[in-house]
Amino acid sequence: MSGGFIWASYLVTYGLIVGYAVTVWTRVRGRRLWSSDRQP
């Protein structure tokens, strides 16, 4: 029973952090590709 709450806490924490980091990293990468694509 105690394990469920503990693992849920860790899952929420690392899930939110990894999800946010991957989202921002993808947007940074996308912007870089977009700007290099528009170079003459």
């Binding site: 105690s2 860790y10 929420v12 940074v28 912007r31 870089r32």
Partner: protein, 238 residues
Amino acid sequence: MTRTLPRAVLGALAVVGVAAGLWLALTSSPDVFQGDYVRIMYVHVPGSWLAFLAFGVTALGSLGWLVTKRMVFDRVAEASAEIGVLFTAVSLFTGMLWGYPVWGTFWDWGDPRMASTALMFFVYLGYLALRRSIADPVGRARRSAILGVVAVVQVPLVYFSVTLWRSLHQGMTVRPDGIAMDGSMVAALLVNLAAFTVLYLYLMILRTSLAVQEAEAVATETEQAGRTVAKPNLEGLS
């Protein structure tokens, strides 16, 4: 390459630190009263600490913009507020998951720390919404800087809420006369606090660089849109 190398090193440090923190959190001594539930503290407390740090940096960035009008401060404030909201969400969710088995409830609006943390979360969500609602970069920076400076008063209010009012939360664990915790628990908590702080620095660099790229893209698009407007031929009209 030279710009992304320090970021990659910081990212690697954050991953190693968080992994070490996780290992210590799962192997440290259980609490005499709470048993293994105390392990939630190792993610809950760093989440709260980073929310405070992030909103403090948002206030400093806002103040920096108001004084100097340099856009770099606005971007730092924006990045830090977004990361602060993320870690406030971590603190709220892990707090609820810790509260149910220990206090018998996921949430209690009568608890000053829960209520003030929720209020802080929604105020900074409002800060992010305000930023998205204004297209003009200078107007956006001015209005959000004022809110960024005013909203930071919530940080000490949340922190001292457990001593100012009656609360389900325990009093301060770190006091001038010492730390009321076992040594292995203190070590696990300090490693997690340090690892999450490095993670915050990594996310700040990443998010600030995105803000800079987005601003450059808007400037480029505006310039190109201006160039495509042909000069009107007014010959023969006079």
